[in-house]
Symmetry: C2
Subunit: 232 residues, 2 copies
C-alpha cells in the first residue's frame, strides 16, 4: 500500500520540513503540498536528512488535484464528532482502528492534514471518504502538525499488503454521482439530500469498497433507475 | 499509572517546548530535564499552550536523581540491538509491546530520552530496566526528539490502571546489589560478572517485578548466601 501525506495549505515552512523528516523516518516518500507557504531555510533545518522529500514533494493548487488518483482519502480532525456535534465529523476513527481497516488492502491511501490554525474546513472534510482523529487531552487537544503526522505514520507503518484492491477514485466519484442522480430521480427530499449523500459516502468510505463492489453497487443503482423510468 | 518523561541533556530549547506540548496533548504533566540547555523564547514558541509544563518541569543534574523515585525506568534507543550488536541494547521493545507490558500496572514509569545528537550512552542505558525503540526506516532511523515522545505517549495513552503495584526503585536497587554480592561470594568469574548482572537486570526489568516478588527473590538470595557461608 502506498501512503500519501497531503498537507493542505500549511502555514509554517518549519512544519513542512518536520513532516518531511517524519515521512523519511517511516519510509514514506509521497508528500503533496496544497498551496503551501513559501519554503525557506526553516524547512531545511527541520527536515535534516529528509530535505529530498521536500524537494520532490508535489505542489498542487487544489485539494482535489492532490488526491484525485488515490483509492481512499482520509481526513484528519482534532475536533471530534461528539463535541463538535456536526454530522460531517462523524465518525472519526482512532488511528489504531484505521490500521485494522487498512491491513491487507492494496492501493494509494491519501491522508489529509489541515492548516495549523484551524485544520480542515467542513467543505474539505466532506471530500474525504473517512476521518481519523488522534485521541488527545480534552484540556489541550490540538497537536502540532508534524506530531500528528508522526503518530499516524507510526501507527500505519508495517501494514500487511494484501490482494484486496481498493476501488479507484474515479470509480468512487462515479458511484457517488450515480447515487446523487438516483436520489434526484426518486424525488428524495432536497433539504435532506446532501446530508444523506454524505452519510452514504461515510458508510462506503468506512467499508473501503473494492472495484468489484463498486460495479455491483452501480448495477443495483441502474436497476433502480430502470424500475423508476418515467414509462415504467 | 504516572508516566514521567525525562529528557537527558536536551540541546535545543525548541525541542523542550515541543515535548512539553506533546505531554499536555496526552494529559501527562511530569517532565524532568537533566542538565538542559538554556531555555529561551524558542521553547515558549514551540510549547504554545503548554508553557506551564516547561515552567513546572523538574530540573536535575544527574539522571539518577531524575528517576530514583520511580518504579520502572525505560530507556529509549534509536540504535537497535540487532544492528548495534551490543549486549546493553538488547532487547529493545517496540512501543506496542511496551503498552501490553504496562497495561494493568500501577506506579511511576520513567521514560528517558537521550541527547538529540547521540541519544543515551551505554552507561546511561545500563541504568534502565528495559529499553524501547520505535521501528523506523533503515535509511533514516533517527527521529526528532519531540516526534519520538509523541509516538511513545500516544501509544501509552489510555492505559488501564491495575492493582499490580510495581516494586519501587529502592527495593530493585537493593535486589541488584544483593545479586552482585551473591555472585561475588560464589566467585562468579570477574570478567563475566558485569554482563551477567546486566542480563539479569534486563530479565527482571522485562518482568516488571512487584514488591512481593522482589522480597521473594531476596529470600532466595539469602538462602543461597546461607548455604554458601564459609562455615557451612
Amino acid at each position: 500500500m502506498n501512503i500519501r501525506i497531503i498537507l493542505n495549505e500549511p502555514q509554517y515552512d518549519g512544519n513542512i520540513g518536520s513532516v518531511a523528516r517524519v515521512l523519511k523516518n517511516f519510509d514514506c516518500h509521497d508528500l503533496v503540498l496544497v498551496n503551501p507557504c513559501s519554503i525557506g531555510s526553516m524547512a531545511e533545518t527541520m527536515a535534516q536528512h529528509a530535505w529530498d522529500i521536500v524537494e520532490h514533494a508535489t505542489i498542487c493548487d487544489s485539494l482535489h488535484d492532490a488526491f484525485f488518483d488515490s483509492n481512499l482519502v482520509i481526513g484528519t480532525t482534532g475536533t471530534r464528532g461528539e463535541t463538535a456535534g456536526r454530522h460531517v465529523r462523524i465518525p472519526a476513527y482512532p488511528p489504531k482502528r484505521l490500521r485494522e481497516k487498512l491491513n491487507g488492502r492494496e492501493g494509494t491511501v491519501s491522508i489529509v492534514f489541515g492548516r495549523e490554525d484551524d485544520g480542515l474546513s467542513n467543505r474539505e472534510l466532506v471530500m474525504c471518504d473517512l476521518l481519523v482523529s488522534i485521541p488527545t487531552s480534552e484540556e489541550y487537544p490540538i497537536m502540532n502538525l508534524s506530531h500528528a503526522v508522526a503518530v499516524i505514520l507510526y501507527e500505519l507503518s508495517d501494514l500487511k499488503t494484501g490482494d484486496l484492491l481498493l476501488a479507484d477514485r474515479r470509480d468512487l466519484d462515479m458511484l457517488y454521482e450515480h447515487i446523487e442522480t438516483v436520489l434526484c430521480n426518486l424525488n428524495y427530499p432536497v433539504h435532506k439530500r446532501q446530508k444523506t449523500l454524505l452519510m452514504l459516502r461515510r458508510i462506503f468510505g468506512r467499508a473501503e469498497l473494492t472495484t468489484r463492489e463498486v460495479y455491483t453497487l452501480r448495477g443495483v443503482l441502474r436497476l433502480i433507475e430502470y424500475h423508476n423510468r418515467p414509462d415504467f
